[in-house]
């Protein structure tokens, strides 16, 4: 009996400690504040008022910098990332989720460290940490949609970039329908197709980080194979990984956050008509 009481006390203490931590939130662990379908609906509303960006470039070659898991708070690596992206004259920077820990002040800090959009175009996606502490409302008010596309048009071809929201561990049925529609109706008009999302798809190494449900993964794998998706770039796992499946390269990014020992990001190059990538670590 005494042992049982002790266990309950330990469990309660553990729960309170967990709850008090500023990076994790017990309620957010168990259930999203908004369902993925609700966030998708809001993203689509935002998209209808803010048309998808089409970036025209005069050169055939361009670079896109991609980072994830900056977990702002502190901004040393975030600033370095922006600085290097601007220095190398990147066309855009994509931030694939967990850009904050969900607190309002994190979002304000993050927004304050983004460069002028004339210097560097930036695209954000929500990750699970961005949703903690009711963070989606902050995300939506500052960045709007988390499900959208952008296009890059060069003198020789156009490329399609698809950003998706997997902050709740699933695309949700509505966003999945949208993704299918985009791939079925638009993919064939573009040379390369790259998908950005937060949750990495495969469980190549063992961590407590969560991957999509197996039945969802099966559907996505078939979609990516069928529509010749060139790259799927994700974060979430905090450790870089590259897996090739068919004609698709699945890339998981190192975390960008300041206290991570292998912090880094990814450069995606479109050069001489070919697609390539390079990991950069600080």
């Amino acid at each position: 009996m005494e042992s049982r009481v002790n266990k309950i006390i330990y469990l309660l203490i553990w729960s309170f400690v967990f709850q008090a931590c500023d990076k994790f939130e017990l309620r957010g662990f168990i259930l999203s504040y908004e369902s993925p379908d609700r966030r998708f609906e809001q993203s689509m509303k935002w998209n209808s008022e803010n048309p998808y960006k089409e970036i025209n470039v005069t050169s055939d070659d361009y670079t896109i910098c991609v980072m994830a898991d900056s977990h702002t708070g502190t901004t040393k690596n975030l600033d370095l990332f922006m600085e290097q992206a601007i220095q190398m004259n990147a066309l855009a920077a994509v931030m694939a989720g967990d850009i904050t820990n969900g607190h309002r002040e994190d979002y304000v800090t993050f927004k304050g460290h983004l460069p002028d959009q004339n210097d560097l175009l930036t695209f954000q996606i929500a990750g699970n940490h961005d949703l903690y502490f009711d963070g989606w409302k902050q995300f939506y008010s500052l960045f709007g949609s988390s499900t959208y596309i952008f296009k890059v048009k060069t003198p020789v071809a156009s490329d399609l970039f698809i950003c998706t929201d997997t902050g709740s561990g699933t695309l949700g049925s509505d966003q999945l329908d949208w993704l299918k529609d985009v791939l079925e109706n638009m993919r064939q008009n573009y040379r390369y197709c790259i998908i950005f999302t937060h949750n990495n798809l495969f469980r190549i190494r063992h961590t407590v980080s969560t991957n999509p449900f197996v039945e969802e993964l099966r559907v996505l794998l078939e979609l990516f194979l069928e529509h010749q998706v060139d790259m799927v770039i994700a974060g979430h796992d905090h450790e870089k990984n590259v897996v090739l499946f068919g004609n698709t390269t699945h890339i998981t990014l190192d975390a960008l956050k300041d206290d991570y020992k292998n912090a880094g990001y990814l450069n995606v190059f479109i050069k001489q008509g070919k697609i390539d990538y390079e990991f950069i670590n600080f």
């Binding site: 949703l131 699933t170 194979l225 090739l244």
Partner: protein
């Protein structure tokens, strides 16, 4: 993988047709109906199971058919399990080998090969094990999408677990139980994505038992701001005539 599968099947048929040994035979059939984020509405699946137990050895095989789903195939999965009971001191358990093959689409299939320990007590069932999963592009997929390499992805040493509590002892006429697990008949989910269920069964007469299960699937847990993934209901019947020689 094919090498291992071959020996699984050979062992299965040797034991199945060993005529002069008394075997405990069990046949069951069930229907699953539910919906999830990828099912595009309501989906219905059925499965057939056969189990032969001879002394301490048990062989079990099952097949799954999609009656209403977005899947290209009708025959969508097969499973084969071989188990042997052990007694070490007073500790009884069953070691199991498991093979699940999923034909979830024409161009991509999935296979799982696992080993696990099954511990059954008066009110509890625990399963713990590991499995090796691979997704591979089929010959049809290779041809259709012009794939030259990178046809397989391996996910190794995935944890398998089940913790089940039954209100009544296992052999009671009726029972209600609940479990948390990442394994079902033809699905082994990632260890971070547990499924919870509520189960009930009722022995109608000596060989026949009816059962009912209700499953809830979450898109994640712990470090994810988890969303709903899906649910399904299962009902089935077990025919267990006793010893057959």
């Amino acid at each position: 993988m094919l090498f291992s599968s071959k020996y699984f099947i050979i062992t299965f048929f040797i034991l199945m047709f060993t005529g002069n040994i008394a075997a405990q035979v069990k046949l069951s059939s069930n229907i699953d109906a539910g919906e999830n984020n990828v099912s595009e509405g309501f989906c219905v699946k059925s499965s057939l199971w056969g189990s032969w137990q001879i002394d301490k050895i048990r062989i079990e095989g099952g097949t799954q058919f999609d009656l209403k789903s977005v899947n290209d195939n009708f025959f969508t999965a097969a499973s084969l399990l071989a188990g042997r009971k052990f007694l070490i001191g007073k500790f009884q358990f069953e070691a199991q080998g498991l093979l699940i093959y999923n034909l979830f689409s024409e161009p991509i299939h999935e296979s799982n090969l696992g080993i696990l320990t099954n511990i059954e007590r008066k009110h509890f069932i625990f399963k713990l094990g590991t499995e090796f999963r691979n997704y591979h592009i089929t010959k049809r997929g290779v041809k259709e999408y012009d794939i030259e390499s990178n046809k397989v992805i391996h996910e190794n040493w995935n944890l398998i677990y089940l913790f089940q509590y039954n209100l009544k002892p296992y052999d009671h006429k009726w029972n209600i139980g609940t479990s948390i697990t990442n394994i079902d008949q033809f699905l082994i989910n990632q260890e971070t994505n547990p499924m919870v269920n509520l189960k009930g069964r009722y022995k109608i007469s000596s060989p026949l038992t009816l059962y009912f299960e209700s499953w809830y699937m979450s898109a994640g847990s712990l470090n994810i701001s988890a969303g709903y993934f899906g649910y399904f209901l299962r009902t089935g019947v077990i025919w267990s005539p006793g010893l057959i020689k």
